[in-house]
Symmetry: C2
Subunit: 258 residues, 2 copies
């Protein structure tokens, strides 16, 4: 098989999902005729593959999961939405008058967020954004973006970059999933193999695919609250709240140490 | 990346789709909690990948495309449903009192068809089924299963095997898709590359994937009615009707030459 071309998978997924939702612009059709839902494909390095409909990235607040509502209710002050995607979270905060900035590394995602009305958008990684001189009171890592901490290697650097972007008393609100409730051998075997290699059990090695495009392989962390607490230990942040009401999903709130 | 394990992808897809539709049995959940639609993943050898919701395999007649209704209305006599899948076509024919046999190479698909009420099922290829001694008046290759003719190498053998299974005056009703209406370079480039290699333009090289499983790579044909007519030429069959009312989809009817 030919390897797929590297490209802005997430941006293409969101662009097509927006076209399907609005009926505007070219969009995927079966046989050039029947509408085809936009499916984001996630491949894991052990050969596991899953397709997930992308429409949820555009969901209005009425269709959100309860933890998303509890997360946005915790927001205060200048807010950085890390991985703004199609902007569903940023749009609600804008409506509430919160000064919110959307950050993403996907040009396509930023274009979609802009078309949907998000006003303040930045194309950068968290690390690169430090040099822009802007500072925040709240950092949101929703939509499972606790995963961006990747594992033991990346977490300290990302926590340091967020601290460099933080005003005194700032908070990080991160949405994670505890992966260890499963008894599915496809997953438990993967977790064991990861640990044998010195990685966290749920330190996933993934790539996204959509049509002819793929991302490079990247690490994405699903971990227990205890593992996350251990990653935060010794950083400029302190785990000050853990909301597990929708377990296995959770919201971890970190507060900048004075 | 580890290569996925070879297995009964289609059977697993249908089993999970049935579990989701009925609410009975283990079924895919996000985080062990939220229902996840069953997505069949189709990978092409140029790196193109598509996910398609599998629920349509269970669709009741009210949700079918018009060409499926026109196809079943053409059925007469003992009928072999080639690639019976979850049995949606066979169930309707049973209801109409048509003596219908469902054929599939997927044990999982046959298990789902049986649970849904299809009574006469055979686990075999068309070629192997010849030795069983049963003979038919109608062969159905619906759900795009004109693709089973694969290309110039396979088509004569499959047409011969169907002729060996046929009673005098028998017919084949095959559903195909003309792929050449597209201007998408991802597809037109693939068609050109195929032709340079001596294959039909729409002679797809595919594998199916679902979770940890993949099929072997196989050829599956999407071709124009003209290309299909050329494949049939010189076989024991004659193209006696072409229904292009839902172009780019079409129904090709072949009749056994006396």
């Amino acid at each position: 098989m030919t390897e797929p071309r590297i490209g802005d998978v997430y941006g293409e997924v969101l662009r097509d999902a927006l076209a399907v939702a609005t009926g505007i612009g070219p969009r995927p059709l079966v046989g050039g005729r029947l509408p085809r839902p936009v499916i984001e494909i996630i491949e894991r390095d052990d050969g596991l593959i899953n397709g997930a409909p992308a429409a949820h990235y555009l969901d209005p607040p009425a269709d959100w999961q309860p933890y998303d509502h509890r997360a946005v209710d915790r927001v205060r002050g200048a807010t950085l939405d890390v991985g703004v995607g199609a902007g569903r979270i940023a749009l609600l905060l804008q409506d509430r008058g919160v000064p919110v900035t959307g950050l993403d590394i996907s040009p396509g995602a930023l274009a979609v967020a802009r078309r949907r009305g998000v006003r303040d958008l930045v194309h950068a990684t968290v690390d690169d954004h430090v040099a822009d001189g802007r500072r925040y009171d709240t950092f949101l890592l929703l939509g499972n973006n606790l995963g961006l901490f990747e594992g033991r290697e990346r977490a300290p650097a990302l926590l340091a970059a967020l601290a460099a972007l933080a005003r005194p008393g700032a908070q990080i609100i991160a949405h994670g999933t505890d992966p260890y409730g499963t008894t599915d051998p496809v997953h438990t075997g993967y977790h064991e193999r990861n640990r044998r290699r010195g990685r966290l059990g749920g330190q996933l090695r993934l790539r996204l695919r959509y049509r002819e495009l793929a991302t490079h392989w990247f690490d994405y962390l699903v971990c227990s609250p205890e593992e996350f607490a251990a990653l935060v230990h010794g950083s400029p942040w302190r785990l000050t709240d853990l909301d597990t009401r929708d377990a296995p999903y959770y919201l971890a709130t970190l507060t900048l140490t004075p």
